[in-house]
Amino acid sequence: MAGFIETLLIDLATANPPPGREAWSHAMRAEFEVLEHGRAGWALGCLGASLGWRLRADWVFVAGFLVASILDFGAFHALVTFALLLVIPRDDWMQLANLYAAINYELALAPIVFCCGALAAYRPRYWLFAGLVTPILDNLISIWFMVAYFHQPLSVLARVRIMDARFDIGFGAELGYGLVAALIGRGLSEYFGRKPAKAA
């Protein structure tokens, strides 16, 4: 088990290094291969160094991803809902449900779709991450907001509808939108030949 974790750590540390760091990644791995003791610590340190290089090389992508996930419609929607809850009496919360129903979710998904596409276009090799993790983190933040600020149990998700579908189906569709947008972004980027990222 320990061997598996060490190998996983060094695999993560040396997989797909940023431009200009390929030789250094191989160098860290070569030392790991000859190391007999303290392999886990070495691999963990390599992962830290690798993350540092990635952050330096891809900080715009990381910032864009975080902004997209945190400020995207999910959290924005939750904030608006929270604000409405403050002004609407508890007895009238059904009005809020009606308000949800009145919103066109396809249009509301436009920001996340745009963000997934833009992130993938900026860093085509991270298209899967952009298309998959951005909507997931966005929704996790929304759920956390709902639980933490609305004091609603998670079971309330069963009543949440996205695009007129059950939450799980709607969320799956949202992931699909994100992935398709990311694929299109990657395709556009490759078609128009973005310059490769500079070395960190």
Binding site: A27, M28, E31, V34, G41, W42, G45, A49
Partner: protein
């Protein structure tokens, strides 16, 4: 390859100190000599390599089945930087004080 005038950190000085001999040294040897973890050592090695303070090359495996290893050696610019870092800074005590 430009050499910046930014002063070296104590860890960078330790790395140069460990490399201050006429032989190639592996990352593990430098880590052992400086007590630096891999997460600190490699970013330092990269920075110093980019500043031209050390050179790196791949050495063939010592035994069959082992990987080739990256080894490092201090350069002339590195020796100069190390000497400058070792040089004591301006002393506050006046010369000749008893």
């Amino acid at each position: 390859m430009t050499t910046r005038s930014r002063p070296l950190s104590s860890q960078a000085v330790a790395v140069l100190d460990a490399l201050d001999r006429d032989e190639w040294r592996y990352g593990l040897e430098v880590a052992a000599a400086t007590r630096l973890k891999s997460g600190s050592l490699y970013p330092i090695l990269v920075r110093m390599s980019e500043r031209g303070l050390l050179e790196a090359q791949w050495l063939p495996p010592e035994r069959p089945g082992r990987p080739a290893r990256h080894a490092y050696r201090i350069t002339g610019a590195g020796r100069t930087a190390l000497a400058a870092a070792r040089r004591p800074h301006h002393s506050l005590e006046p010369q000749g004080a008893f």
